[in-house]
Every structure is written in structure tokens, then in C-alpha cells.
């Protein structure tokens, strides 16, 4: 994460922004529901991976999906698209 400039002399003369993860913060905080994957039910078709708008599902060992909860916004697309019901949405922190 690059440091935000504090003083005039640290600022670029025109607004140039660097590629940064968490540009708008740890968006995992947005969630109301979180997706829970049951590996036993998963056939590693990767539909959840391809349809995640955030790109926060990673292709893990042998393409087992791994959800990055730091950035998952809890939209539920992965759960909705999984044809085997291997992902369920659970209410956050009740």
C-alpha cells in the first residue's frame, strides 16, 4: 500500500495514482452475508472464480477456490451461480 502524501513537496504536480489493492479500503467490511464454500461438494468448475466481480476468489491448490474475505463484498453471485450448491451465504457476525 503506497503512502498518501502529507506535505506539498510529496505531492505529484498532477493527480497520478498508483495501482493499489484496497484502494477504497478493506471492502470485506461491507458484507452482510459471507459465502462459505464446502470443499467436499466442489467439483472445481471455477464458475465462482470467473463470475466474482471483485476477483477475490483465488484459484488455490488444484484449482480449489479460495475466498479472500478481506475484499469479498458478500454479493452472493458465487453462491447463486454454483450449480452444485457448494457455496452457501451465511449471515455475518450475528
Amino acid at each position: 500500500m503506497i503512502k498518501a502524501p502529507k506535505n506539498l513537496k510529496d505531492m505529484p504536480i498532477t493527480p497520478l495514482s498508483r495501482p493499489t489493492v484496497a484502494s477504497t479500503g478493506i471492502t470485506g467490511f461491507w458484507r452482510t452475508f459471507r459465502p462459505i464454500l464446502e470443499p467436499a461438494k466442489c467439483n472445481r468448475c471455477l464458475l465462482c472464480w470467473v463470475f466474482c466481480p471483485e476477483g477475490c476468489i483465488k484459484r488455490g491448490a488444484e484449482d480449489m477456490p479460495e475466498i479472500d474475505y478481506d475484499y469479498c463484498k458478500g454479493c452472493g453471485i458465487c453462491a447463486n451461480e454454483c450449480r452444485l450448491g457448494a457455496i452457501k451465504m451465511e449471515r455475518e457476525g450475528l
Binding site: 502524501p5 493499489t20 471492502t27
Partner: protein, 298 residues
């Protein structure tokens, strides 16, 4: 057609960005990057993607991106292309990436001019069918009957057909795509990347807050749009028309799902009367008759 597992693992739209949960545009941007790779320069007008890019001093874009005034995308992109050519910079894809507002309405002059000049770039319109970034006001690309904040009783005019407008410009490649069919989208973008001249692709990107559906249904909505024939996947490749993927079979009216399947699932169509729905169905059927004629007359 590329295989799902062959798509790159890297994410070039960095997570932790300001896109809404379930954002169709965000997904389209992510898939576009997977199609085109990181040697891509984006020119982006004021639109949802501006917000997805995030606030200074951070950006979620991994490759160079030039923010631009609303109506100016294709003109700025023309300038970038000219400068790269003059400076001998090769092997870089230059993309004008704009929403439907910035393309069908305020941006159409610049796009038309760039296309007429045979500017060598890819222009992608991601279509969430309203001015979503400013809070869901109608655009020329909003479909008939849709609620928006500036058409609260439903838009009375039909969706502007920008793909056909681009075909009329005689550009070498025009294609439509949808985030629900990612392999079709990626294949079309990769095909476009290998071509020269003005290449235009319009991607349907459903929007949960704008279309009024729950965030997990974004991909489902795009799929229904295609399955009902509301949105056709096709290409005009060097002027030759071809329906793609699942749309090819839908030339047969029986194979198309009834439009209610699509309309009833979105709050923006909640107020439609039976007459409205019949009218929309007729319009879709007529559009597909036109596709049939196109194919026959080729």
C-alpha cells in the same frame, strides 16, 4: 473459443475497490483485462469505472489509465493512438472504455468521428442501461418501460441501437457480449485485439441498484437477457453478421424464453402493464425477424 481454465489467474483490477457489491461493470472490466492482458492503456470518461478506479493517490487499475471528460473518450483515445504511433510504441492495446451514457448519448459524436477516421483502437461500451454513476438517470440505451429517476413512470422510447450505428460506419468489427457468457466475451475481445481499425464491442452489464434486483442475481439477469432475446450476442466481422453462442439457436422463436421471465425479476419493470409487456415482446420478435432477414440477405 477459449477454455475457462485457460483464463489468466492474475487480477488486473485490484480488489478492495469502490464497485458496488455484485457490480456487472466491475465483472466486465475484470474479464476484459483477462482477455487483453496488462499491456493495455485505458481511456475512461466520467462513469462508474471512474469510481471503481478509486481515489487519489490509489487506483485499482494495474495498467495505465487516463481519466477523461465525459463526451471525450473516443477523441482522447484517438490522440493516444496517434502519439503512440508517432513515437513508435507498438504492442500496446489502446482501449476507450465507457458506459452507455458516455457512448450512446454525450460520447457519440466523438465515437462517430473516431470511427469515420478509421482510428485504430478498441472501443468498449459497458451497458448498464442508464447513467448509473450519477444515480440511475435514463440514457439513450435505457430499454423501453424501464424505471429510472428521470423516467419514473417508465421510459417511453426504445433502446438506441449503437451496435447497428457502428455497423453503419463501416468499421471492421462490431460485437455484442454479456458478462454472463465470459468465454464468448473473452474470445471476441481477443479476436478484436488481433485486428486493426476501429473495433466496437458492447457488453451488457446488469446493475443491481439500477435495475432493482438483489446483488447475487447479476449473472442470472445477463443470462435471462440473452435467453429471452432481449439482448442478442452477435458479431459483424468485416460486415458479415453472425449470431454467437446461445443466441444462434434463438432465431427460432420457440426457443426464446418469454420476456416476462426477464421483466418480472427486475424492480425497474415492476410498473409495466400487460400492454407494455406485449409491446416489448412484439418489439423483440420484430428485432429477431430483422436478424433473420440479415442472415438471409448475406
Amino acid at each position: 473459443m477459449v477454455a475457462l481454465k485457460e483464463l489468466p489467474k492474475e487480477e488486473w483490477i485490484l480488489p478492495g475497490n469502490a464497485a458496488c457489491a455484485g457490480c456487472g461493470a466491475s465483472l466486465s472490466l475484470r474479464l476484459t483485462y483477462k482477455a487483453l492482458g496488462p499491456r493495455t492503456v485505458f481511456v475512461i470518461p466520467a462513469c462508474c469505472s471512474t469510481i471503481i478506479a478509486g481515489p487519489f493517490p490509489y487506483t485499482s487499475f494495474s495498467s495505465p489509465m487516463l481519466n477523461m471528460a465525459f463526451e471525450a473518450t473516443a477523441a482522447a483515445t484517438s490522440g493516444v493512438v496517434a502519439a503512440f504511433r508517432k513515437r513508435g510504441i507498438k504492442d500496446v492495446t489502446v482501449v476507450g472504455w465507457a458506459g452507455d451514457g458516455g457512448t450512446a448519448d454525450i460520447g457519440i459524436q466523438a465515437l462517430s468521428g473516431a470511427a469515420e477516421r478509421e482510428t485504430d483502437f478498441i472501443y468498449i461500451m459497458y451497458d448498464n442501461e442508464s447513467y448509473m454513476n450519477t444515480g440511475i438517470q435514463r440514457s439513450g440505451s435505457t430499454p423501453y418501460g424501464a424505471w429510472t429517476t428521470t423516467t419514473p413512470t417508465g421510459k417511453r422510447q426504445h433502446k438506441k441501437n449503437v451496435p447497428l450505428i457502428m455497423v453503419a460506419h463501416g468499421v471492421p468489427y462490431v460485437a455484442t457480449a454479456c458478462i454472463s457468457y465470459p468465454l464468448d466475451l473473452v474470445s471476441k475481445l481477443r479476436k478484436a485485439k488481433e485486428m486493426e481499425g476501429t473495433r466496437y464491442i458492447q457488453i451488457l452489464t446488469p446493475c443491481p441498484p439500477g435495475w432493482r434486483f438483489s446483488t447475487e442475481k447479476t449473472v442470472e439477469m445477463g443470462r435471462l437477457a440473452v435467453q429471452t432475446g432481449m439482448w442478442a450476442l452477435f458479431e459483424f466481422d468485416q460486415g458479415k453478421f453472425k449470431l454467437s453462442g446461445p443466441s444462434a439457436a434463438l432465431i427460432d422463436k420457440e426457443k426464446r424464453k418469454p420476456i416476462e421471465d426477464y421483466l418480472q425479476k427486475q424492480g425497474r419493470f415492476e410498473h409495466l402493464t400487460k400492454e407494455d409487456v406485449t409491446m416489448i415482446q412484439k418489439w423483440i420478435d420484430q428485432t429477431w425477424e430483422n436478424y433473420k432477414k440479415l442472415i438471409e440477405n448475406q
